[in-house]
């Protein structure tokens, strides 16, 4: 029985009808992904996932990335894979294998918590939103009525056009259309099914029996041809559950892509760039060709050099106000003094999609101005630059979260302000994985990595953003990041300030004696060095050295000398990355060009070998942390 099922399944697979859940993938990038999963390299994993590598593929040994990650005990990687849609379905061979192979219970529980319903379709929330538009009354978002003999549907041109080529053409020819009549020959029930299909709803339904069913099906078939959505009819005829699921996945993916195309071709392509001061004069009629029902205005950032002092200090409200001016004495932010007129970009967008963000949902449901129907489209300004807005729109319209690290923090803020929790989480994941700070094998690799990260990420911003937007994993990430580069941060003003802020955060809640950030850094510091010792199988050394830490501490009293051996120079960032102020404060600059054979610690002492040097470094960094706390008068 089972073998028969399996063989038909294999036939289906080989005939190309049914897709394998875990297809063999021998591409180079998939191989790299697998490698990264073995090593636990979050960053590579995230990169590969964003590149679009199939995370549910399998290598020539039938390993999937998820199995590898859980087998090798990389919790974070497994989590990332699952979040990104890796399947771990119970009652399948691969799923059970994955659970069985997991290194520890923590990972096993993680796998279990991602039951198939959560993981199979990362697009489900998107689809659910579109479906919910069908039944949502407030705020009103529909802009077209489909009429048939005994019922009407209030629908959205945007959705219809994105989903059906027929409607795309129809509306392109006549964007002012407000109603569409169903040919009388088609039963209304068929239209209902078609509409549900277009809105990603569930089409499987009881159609009644015999003649009636036949009539409805014929109607659906006609509509399917009319709308040029062939898979509509095929979907409803499909009976096998696996095919149904597969078809739906395909359909969703295609639908999402259409929305994305639509966003690019209609919304982004029709953005209007004007001088900020003129933005309010932009007039868009209701019957525009992209069916937009609201305009979003994003202001370009002013060049930093131009008004550094002016706009960064003492500005309470966002720097520039471009809306209809003041109401009841609302103060208008200072006008930018820049010589070049500030420019704004207006995006014609759709409430139907915007209300995925709770901010917009409430805005459009409220009794305020934005919810009023006006002759010309309302212009609503947002607090972030156009590039950030475009990312937000991409997410709202097509569930895409392709966020460059350079904009990640801004997107995080935007997502927080607009209450888009999903985007916020995704951004946080991207920051904490791409900007990964942990040790990887290969010193050269590590150095390269550190360079890149320093260039893109301002870790202090990230931690602060994490605090303010309430994403604890960012603080954790920051601590790890700092721990692996502590020697370059420990003496900076910014670091001290950060520690103080962290302490303040805690104290404002209740009196406790620990500083969260320092605790985290200590933890990751120990991890950083312990890992090294473990690799050499010399864990005991740590204990030995802890006893003799006294002299190291003596040595660190007073002035801190940073002196590097060749080895350490390799491990740490090159000197050009060190801020000049810091070097100046230290007062002494030791030449890098020292004798390559001598191994020295951070305080310049000559260590016996690499390991004892590591141990002493560890000790030195811990001591410095204590000193810092003392200086800041914080108990820890």
């Amino acid at each position: 029985m089972i073998s028969q099922l399996l063989s038909t399944e294999n036939e289906d697979v080989s005939a190309g009808k049914l897709r394998d859940d875990n297809p063999l993938d021998e591409s180079e990038s998939f191989h790299e992904l697998c490698e990264a999963c073995r090593r636990g390299d979050l960053k590579i994993c995230q990169e590969k996932i964003l590149e679009g590598v199939n995370i549910n593929g399998r290598d020539s040994y039938d390993y999937t990335p998820l199995i590898l990650a859980s087998l090798c005990g990389h919790y974070e990687v497994a989590h990332l894979l699952l979040e990104s849609g890796a399947i771990c379905e119970r009652d399948t061979h691969q799923g059970e294998r994955c659970l069985h192979n997991a290194l520890n219970d923590r990972i096993r529980n993680l796998l279990r918590s991602y039951h198939f319903s959560k993981s199979t379709d990362p697009l489900q929330p998107f689809a659910a939103h579109v479906t919910s538009l069908l039944s949502r009354d407030t705020p009103r978002t529909s802009d077209i009525t489909l009429v048939c003999t005994d019922c009407t549907f209030r629908l959205h041109k945007l959705v219809l056009a994105a989903r059906s080529p027929y409607f795309a053409e129809t509306f392109a020819a006549a964007p002012e259309t407000v109603s569409w009549r169903l040919p009388n020959t088609i039963p209304s029930r068929s239209l209902e099914i078609a509409v549900r299909y277009l809105y990603f709803g569930d089409v499987a339904a009881d159609l009644g029996d015999g003649e009636e069913e036949q009539k409805i099906l014929t109607g659906v078939e006609k509509l399917s041809q009319l709308f040029q959505t062939e898979s509509l009819f095929e979907s409803i005829m499909e009976r096998d559950l696996r095919f149904v699921r597969q078809r739906r996945t395909d359909d969703l993916a295609l639908g999402r892509q259409r929305f994305e195309v639509w966003l690019n071709d209609s919304v982004l392509a029709n953005k209007v760039e004007v001088e900020t001061s003129r933005a309010k004069d932009v007039r868009w009629g209701r019957n525009n060709k992209v069916f937009a029902d609201v305009l979003l205005q994003a202001d370009e950032l002013v060049e930093e050099e131009d008004n550094d002092l002016e706009s960064y200090s003492g500005t309470t409200t966002p720097r520039i106000r471009n809306t209809e001016g003041s109401l009841n004495g609302i103060p208008v932010g200072p006008v930018s003094p820049s010589k070049r007129p500030r420019r704004s970009i207006l995006y014609p967008v759709h409430k139907a999609m915007l209300i995925r963000a709770e901010y917009f949902l409430i805005m459009f449901s409220s009794g305020f101005k934005e919810a009023q129907e006006t002759e010309h489209l309302q212009i609503i300004s947002v607090d972030f630059p156009p590039d950030v807005l475009e990312i937000v729109l991409a997410f709202l319209y097509s569930e895409k979260a392709d966020i460059p690290l350079s904009l990640a923090v801004d997107v995080l803020w935007a997502a927080d302000q607009l209450f888009i929790d999903k985007l916020k989480n995704k951004t946080a994941v991207i920051i904490s994985t791409l900007g990964s700070g942990d040790a990887v094998t290969g010193k050269a690799e590590k150095r390269r990595r550190a360079d890149e990260d320093d260039g893109v990420i301002d870790i202090y911003e990230v931690i602060r953003a994490g605090w303010d937007t309430r994403v604890p994993q960012l603080e954790e990430f920051g601590a790890r990041y700092l721990a692996y580069r502590l020697e370059r941060h420990i003496d900076t003003e910014e670091f001290a300030e950060m520690v103080q802020d962290s302490a303040a955060r805690i104290q404002s809640r209740q009196e406790t004696d620990t500083v969260e950030l320092i605790d985290d850094i200590r933890f990751y510091l120990s991890e950083r060095f312990r890992l090294r010792f473990e690799e050499a199988g010399l864990e005991e050394m740590m204990d030995d050295l802890e006893g003799s830490a006294g002299d190291a501490q003596d040595a660190t009293e007073g002035q801190f000398q940073e002196e590097r051996g060749i080895d350490s120079a390799e491990r740490y960032a090159p000197s050009d990355a060190i801020p000049p102020t810091r070097v100046a404060a230290n007062g002494v600059i030791k030449s890098d060009a020292l004798d390559g054979t001598v191994i020295r610690t951070l305080d310049g002492k000559i260590a016996g070998d690499e390991f004892s040097q590591e141990a002493m470094d560890y000790r030195i960094l811990l001591t410095k942390l204590d000193q810092l706390l003392e200086k800041l008068e914080l108990d820890a």
Partner: protein
């Protein structure tokens, strides 16, 4: 995008909202101005985006606590300066109309009350709408600041403000000052009172105010039980309602009859339920219903039921609807419906007693005649017997009618309630088995007998079914099932032997119904009676065939058909009449002396039978048989001339023996009573009866008696009446007591005795069975177990059981335990 990573340095993001301080004041001015606009319904031109941004920035700048505080202060001021004075003015004027309660008309009171309710409703609705908008604007404050600092969200906080600054603010001064809530409650109560008195009120505003009280809590803690509605309004409402209904119930019961009262009470309950649904809160439904039930029903139901036009009146007059009301009301307050049950039982018991008494009276007047005195010719005797039987029939009819009546009431008025059914059964059973009326079982059996013989003639199957149903219904109530069995057997045996049943099928149906009702045990004997009948028929046929084979046909041969009856199954003691009654006589006489020709046939059959079933003993019961005799009377002159008369006489077996005696006599020779008795050995009682029918009844006077008195004396002489003539060829000579009728006292005495004896055996058998199983058993337990095991048969008296135990002790089946007197043990 990823490819370009690292190419440019990220610009420090959003310095504008980082670190730097922000000035609260101007922002707050903007916000508070907008809030005021919102409160005055001018929000449509406000920009949500701007307001949201203000609040957002303030929260980010860690000014959340200040913002929160200011919002709360703002709302507080707004409520106390704008809303409160308006509402309190309304409240004061409403109160004023109460103080002048007497002088103001209801209408004035209603108008001023409605004004306040309307004002409060409107203020509350507005407040909610505005705060919703405020909360929208302050969403970031709610989500971030309030959540982190565990502050009450803006919306809830402002609702609490409304409660504290408006609702709980005293309207009147002084120690017992009322706050607005009290005033509102008073108004609502007053309006409810108006509605109860039949006025129309505006429910909408009350409903809204109730909603308001329901959505607010007494304190800031959450919970269903602390809602203002529950803490402030509901208790007052219930109290006022209690007083109202107490008063009303007194008045109603004074002024109306029971039916009206019940109707009114039902209506009040419905009204209160409606009121909770439409005006107040559904959560009060149960509580107010309880109040009404307590006041109108629980405290009054007994009184109502006992009213002169209460349940007794209703049931006598078949007031189905009113009884149904009483039932429903009683069921509301008492799942057992005690009051109603008591009343109904009392009534049924009364009526049952009346029926019993009537039956007894009918059967005693005129006093019961001497037993076995007359045959069909004695009119008075027959009438007495018939009167007796008629009384029995009437009793059964009456009981059935009573049953019918209360069944109808039960079905229509009491919703086929189980408890009432049980109660009715109990009371029926009680009066049918009443100690003062011991004839129930006999009457029921007679009723069946009568129907089997005559009643069901010409009835359809359905009607017959109904009759059987009635019989079974009555039978259900009978406790002394053994007594009934005895009567039934007696009556049945007569029906069978004398072929009186209209339909054998119906007889069998009856048996199978009894089987369902009373079990196999009960009917097994009855069934074997039927079986004996069939077997006997076969036997007769077999015997006839056997005789035919013996030799040539002999015209003088006597045809014999007989019933062979199993001695243990048939009630032989009744059938053989006096034969068994006197043990002394039975010793000397083994039945009547048959004439030789009969004796020959008898012997022949005995031989035939014993061949088939060796080892059995046949004894002949002459008293039950009949014989066809062809009699030839000598020629006497008639108006047609001189001719011989031939008659076929159908007589009882005994009469046949007597008549055959005269065959051998010469003309005019006579026999004395004593001679006859000596030559036939017929029991004197039977002999007397047979001679009576042969010599006294005019139509069947085949013998002539000397002297011609109405009594039979031992010295009387009898001779063949040669001059006898009848109108018909066939003449049936009846014998008294051929049919079933009511027993006379003596017979009853006999029946009772035999039943008592039988019961003694039953009880002993049961006791032994129990003890055999238990080995040891306590006295009380033994008794209760015995009673329960015998319940399906009859209800044994405890004294009787004790006696049986004594007798078993004597017979050494049981013994007392040496260590405990109250314990018995079984001796094997």
């Amino acid at each position: 995008m990823i490819a370009s990573r690292g190419a440019r340095k990220i610009k420090p993001p959003r310095k504008n909202i980082q670190g730097d301080d922000v000035d609260l004041e101007p922002t707050w001015v903007t916000l508070s101005d907008s809030f005021r606009e919102i409160h005055t319904q001018n929000a449509s031109q406000l920009s949500y985006e701007q307001l949201y941004r203000h609040a957002y920035v303030l929260v980010l700048k860690r000014k959340g606590d200040q913002l929160y505080k200011r919002v709360i202060d703002f709302e507080h001021d707004w409520l106390s300066e704008d809303i409160r004075p308006r509402l309190h003015t309304l409240a004061s004027s409403a109160l004023l109309s109460f103080e002048e309660y007497d002088t103001k008309t209801v209408n004035e009171r209603r108008v001023s009350g409605e004004l306040l309710l309307k004002g409060a409703t409107k203020a509350w609705d507005n407040h909610q709408t505005c705060i919703n908008m405020l909360a929208d604007v302050l969403m970031y404050l709610d989500r971030v600041y309030c959540r982190e600092q565990r502050r009450t969200p803006i919306f809830e906080a402002c609702m609490e403000l409304f409660r504290d600054t408006v609702l709980k603010w005293l309207v009147t001064k002084g120690e017992d000052g009322m706050d607005l809530l009290d005033v509102l409650s008073t108004i609502i109560l007053d309006q409810v009172r108006m509605e109860r008195d039949g006025d129309t009120i505006n429910k909408h505003f009350i409903r809204s105010c109730v909603h308001m009280m329901e959505s607010l809590n007494e304190s800031n803690t959450d919970g269903q039980e602390t809602r203002l509605y529950v803490t402030r309004f509901q208790p007052r409402f219930l109290k006022a309602s209690t007083e109202f209904y107490r008063e009303e119930s007194e008045r109603l019961i004074r002024e109306n009859d029971a039916g009206t009262y019940c109707r009114w009470a039902s209506r009040r309950i419905r009204e209160e339920e409606d009121r909770c649904r439409s005006t107040l809160s559904e959560s009060t439904t149960d509580k107010i219903r309880r109040v009404v039930e307590d006041e109108l029903i629980r405290n009054k139901i007994a009184e109502v039921i006992a009213m002169p036009n209460g349940v007794k009146f209703m049931s006598d007059n078949n007031r189905i609807e009113e009884l149904s009301l009483v039932y429903n009301l009683n069921a509301r307050v008492d799942s057992k419906k005690t009051e109603l049950i008591t009343a109904i039982q009392k009534r049924v018991a009364q009526m049952g007693d009346e029926i019993n008494r009537a039956a007894l009276a009918a059967s005693h007047t005129p006093p019961a005649p001497a037993p076995g005195y007359s045959d069909g010719s004695t009119k008075s005797g027959e009438r007495v017997v018939n009167q007796h039987t008629a009384a029995a029939m009437k009793w059964v009819e009456d009981v059935l009618q009573l049953k019918d009546k209360f069944d109808t009431i039960w079905r229509l008025s009491f919703a086929s309630d189980q408890a009432l059914q049980a109660a009715l059964s109990k009371v029926f059973s009680e009066f049918i088995n009443a100690a003062t009326f011991p004839r129930g079982t006999e009457y029921i059996s007679l009723f069946i007998d009568d129907n089997m013989k005559k009643g069901i003639k010409g009835k359809t199957e359905h009607e017959v079914d109904l009759v059987l149903d009635k019989a079974i219904t009555l039978l259900r109530y009978v406790q002394d099932k053994d007594m009934f069995e005895k009567y039934y057997k007696k009556h049945l045996s007569r029906r069978l032997l004398m072929n009186k049943s209209v339909s054998n099928d119906v007889e069998k149906q009856m048996i199978s119904r009894m089987k369902i009702e009373l079990g196999n045990n009960f009917t097994s004997k009855l069934e074997s009676m039927f079986k004996d009948m069939t077997v006997s028929e076969e036997l007769s046929n077999g015997y006839r065939a056997y005789v035919d084979k013996l030799g040539d046909y002999d015209p003088a041969r006597v045809d014999l058909s007989m019933h062979v009856l199993t001695a243990t199954v048939w009630p032989l003691d009744h059938m053989s009449g006096a034969l068994d009654r006197d043990p002394n006589k039975q010793d000397k006489a083994q039945g009547p002396i048959f004439p030789p020709e009969i004796e020959r046939v008898k012997k022949g059959f005995e031989k035939f039978y014993l061949n088939r079933h060796s080892g059995r003993v046949l004894s002949w019961l002459g008293g039950m048989g009949t014989a066809d005799i062809r009699a030839v009377f000598p020629k006497v002159p008639t108006k047609d001339g001189l001719r011989e008369r031939k008659h076929e006489l159908n007589v009882s077996t005994y009469a046949m023996i007597i008549l055959l005696l005269f065959n051998d006599l010469s003309e005019n020779e006579a026999l004395t009573y004593e001679e006859i008795e000596a030559r036939t050995n017929i029991p004197p009682h039977e002999l007397t009866r047979n001679l009576q029918s042969l010599s006294l009844a005019t139509k069947t006077r085949i013998l002539l008696k000397e002297p011609m008195t109405r009594d039979i004396k031992p010295t009387d002489r009898f001779k063949f009446n040669e001059g006898f003539s009848g109108k018909f060829i066939r003449i049936k000579v009846g014998v008294v007591s051929a049919g079933n009728r009511v027993e006379n006292d003596k017979e009853r005495q006999d029946t009772d005795d035999s039943v008592r004896q039988m019961r003694a055996h039953y009880i002993e058998a049961t006791i032994v069975r129990i003890m055999k199983q238990r080995k040891t058993c306590a006295h009380l337990q033994l008794i209760s177990e015995t009673i329960s095991q015998l319940a399906s048969h009859f209800k044994p008296e405890v004294t009787m059981i004790k006696k049986r135990i004594e007798s078993l002790l004597d017979k050494e089946y049981l013994a007392r335990m040496p260590e405990d007197d109250s314990m018995y043990k079984y001796i094997t």
